[in-house]
Symmetry: C2
Subunit: 232 residues, 2 copies
DNA sequence: GTAATAGTGTCTATCAGACACTATGTT
DNA sequence: AACATAGTGTCTGATAGACACTATTAC
């Protein structure tokens, strides 16, 4: 337990003061996912050894992991307002050749238009990034995709990739991008219709009949069978 | 990224060598779940401040988190052979009054008869432990329950809570314990029957018609709708 | 035989998926 | 008018859940 030893005076079974053990550096890396041209993409930055890498940072004293992740995105990509989800701690002792560095991978999601116009995005095929990334960052992207799919299968656009109001078509296009598969128009509508709130307003559509605008309903969950429709 | 700075000579934006930042202690805590008398229970040990706590340990140099978790279980509870799953990093700066300690919560699962006979078990109601635990360990238990349910909804007894062969009744009793709700006998059988392998052998039952013994099938997954049946 | 449990046939309500149809806008 | 997209009615096949029935053991 976190509470079994350490602190000045605490000693382990062999009599060694636990506080004296060398401590690892702790880092955070963030896979920022977005949707561009109907496909999932991940934000990358220049890595320390060249090549692409996920934005990340070292944890500072007293800081929480989510704060470090927010700081990394702000300083390295000019991003604010993402919501972070812990994915996994990557802890292979040799994963970073500069020393013993544990890294907590985070997933985040932002609409394309909240990213800088010159942000470098790499396409995600299925659940894997389409070109190599530094370190174990490609594995982190896969975990981020799994996480965003699991969350989107439970609720309607929980990370706000769409604007406040949207049509059912826009919502379906988003889900087709997230789950990387076509979704039948009528079944999809019936699946989500009870989990979104109609606004009276209509979309100023380009062509064809205008579609009604909906907004996310506070806490509405998708039916349990939704994961079947989405992931099969 | 984990690779943006640090190492001798690397400096952050303010010119401070990142390697010089104070580093947190990193610990692991393990919520070992088991089934006793048809209910989920969690293994606890004596905490450093009295009261019950999850077994845990500090991470040692070069060690992986799973190794630290295995060592914690071996030295504090005499357990071997559990499979660990990372749950979340608990990182509140004040979660441990002895210093800055991050703890990676792990979930593990073992059959009751692989635990010591005198192991102290606390019942789990729903997804919360039925009595207070030290630190944030009660939250860890909830996460462990969520994790084991998610894994059991995808596959048949992936953690081997049952012996190598088992009857459909034994499997159903296990799932009723894990999901904390009664499951209809016939629907449950039809749900799992294609994901387990019949052995020719029959259970030496106490009373009634003998039941066939099955074994886990290598990779068989439960249908996607299973989560509906199990969690609704 | 009775008791007890294993396993199956069947009916119903629900729902995904497909298809076609109607509705309402633009040009 | 033609065209395009929104939204709905309806049929079908699959299946969860309920129920009853048959099957096979112990006593």
């Amino acid at each position: 337990m976190t509470g079994s030893a350490a602190g000045s005076g605490w000693r382990d079974a062999e009599g060694k003061a636990l506080i004296d053990y060398p401590r690892p550096s702790v880092a955070v890396d963030v896979a920022v996912l977005t949707v561009q041209t109907g496909r999932l993409h991940v934000l990358v930055v220049d890595g320390p050894r060249g090549g692409n890498a996920l934005p990340g940072s070292f944890l500072r004293p007293g800081e929480r992991l989510a704060e470090a992740a927010e700081r990394a995105l702000r300083t390295k990509a000019g991003l604010v307002g993402a919501d972070f989800h812990q994915l996994a701690m990557f802890d292979a002792p040799d994963r970073d050749d500069r020393g013993w560095v544990l890294s907590m991978a985070h997933g985040a999601t932002l609409p394309r238009d909240e990213l800088p116009v010159d942000a470098e995005l790499v396409r995600v095929d299925g659940r894997t990034v389409s070109e190599p990334l530094a370190f174990d960052h490609a594995d982190m992207v896969s975990r981020a995709v799994d996480d965003v799919r699991a969350r989107y299968a439970r609720r309607i656009d929980p990370s706000g990739l769409l604007p406040d109001t949207f049509t059912v078509l826009e919502l379906r296009r988003l889900y087709e991008a997230v789950f990387d598969r076509p979704l039948p128009k009528d079944s999809f509508r019936r699946l989500v219709i009870d989990a979104i709130e109609p606004t009276g307003r209509m979309s100023t559509s380009g062509a064809g009949r205008p579609a009604e605008l909906f907004r996310r309903s506070g806490d509405a969950e998708l039916p349990a069978g939704a994961s079947g429709l989405l992931t099969v």
